[in-house]
Symmetry: C2
Subunit: 267 residues, 2 copies
Amino acid sequence: MKKNTTNSIGIFDSGLGGLTVAKSVNKLLPNENIIYFGDTARVPYGSKSPETVIKFSLEIVNFLISHNVKMIVIACNTSSSYAINKIIEQINIPVTGVIEPGVLEALSKTKNNKIGVIGTNATINSNIYSNKIRFQNKKIKVYSIACPLFVPLVEEGWLNKKITDSIIQEYLRTLKSASIDTIILGCTHYPLLEKKITKYFEKKVNIIDSGKVTAKYVKNILAKNGLLNRSKKKGELSFFVSDMPYRFSEQGSNFFGSEISAVRVDL
Amino acid sequence: MKKNTTNSIGIFDSGLGGLTVAKSVNKLLPNENIIYFGDTARVPYGSKSPETVIKFSLEIVNFLISHNVKMIVIACNTSSSYAINKIIEQINIPVTGVIEPGVLEALSKTKNNKIGVIGTNATINSNIYSNKIRFQNKKIKVYSIACPLFVPLVEEGWLNKKITDSIIQEYLRTLKSASIDTIILGCTHYPLLEKKITKYFEKKVNIIDSGKVTAKYVKNILAKNGLLNRSKKKGELSFFVSDMPYRFSEQGSNFFGSEISAVRVDL
């Protein structure tokens, strides 16, 4: 396995969601090898303490490093928030989370300086997005809303139901009344609701999908460090999980956009 | 700690939900000491494999045994389904899960032999309820529906919202058309939706709350084994979690019905 996965981009998440990030990276950089790890035995991270999330994240990073990855992408908002500094401290290859790229993109898009952020309870309660946005520009008003029903809604596949519109309305009403012009999807599951959210805002709002902007970020970092894969071959994709590979493969294709097969490993 | 908790009933769940069971046990047996363990670092169990759930459950049982509990109540449907046999094998005190008591109560209540079962994906996919019901009585028709949005709905506290009625209708419509006369709430979170579910069925259906029937079961087992606490003092209640004790205390009081404070322990 090591031989095939050398020179890969290592991407991890607590479970499935990060596959939307992996999808964007794969789309933008089709010649790169990707190793994805989903911590399905311990998902979700959002309800766990910072110490626990850091511990789990470092275990995964060590697993990816053992496969000689050239870069780490933390495709999980909770881990990006709690663990990125510890990870950077401990390894000597480039690392990115999904928060910084989303924040920078939102800052470059907003015109009325009103940005909405949606995410899980953990992400919103951590204030990570609003702190990072206001650290860059104090004039910006940030409206943050936790939307804990969105993840099970997406996993249930209720992407075209009326109830989904009602739940979106329930959660996003205050953002609409606040006249935000930009919204950050601060959870890797949310891109699957992008159409409905766009519709709710009548196409008047810039929707920031962290996966897409993180992929651009990854490309830049690899280019700057002379680490881009020069091969013309299609990159190899490997998926590892800590539990239930079958279910991951089944549910994951919705997130990744094409068939995947996963291998279970113990950490 | 050991001194106080000897002669206690040990109750565990992957997280908060089992508190509805603990509440019922405490109500029926107010003089019993209870030690509750919520595995908040690894919640939920429903998306994990049987081997993983068994491993985690045995770790918790060992923790409870180290506090000299006289009985184990598995207040988690997933663990009741996957781990109860392994637990019974390994210890020599009485053990009950939440499934058996719910099944027996439903069998005693139904008149038209049509029973509905609702639960998480894991519980429903395991077919544990329908197998156990039909093992007792082949004439019974079981209608099982997974309702994965109910847990986040309850944790969000949306107990009185219109959306909750819509989601209940979406999930339970087929049970209504099937004219069930009895429904098992096969998840320890669901008793918080009991009022809305009763209303949806226009009070025409027996609602089986596993917590309540498990409490009766616990009382019977303790009585039969001469293990009931003869003290007239109010029992002591201790709550342990594997992560985030503060949040557990905060959210848990809704489930337990009165204030609780939790202590974090490593397993």
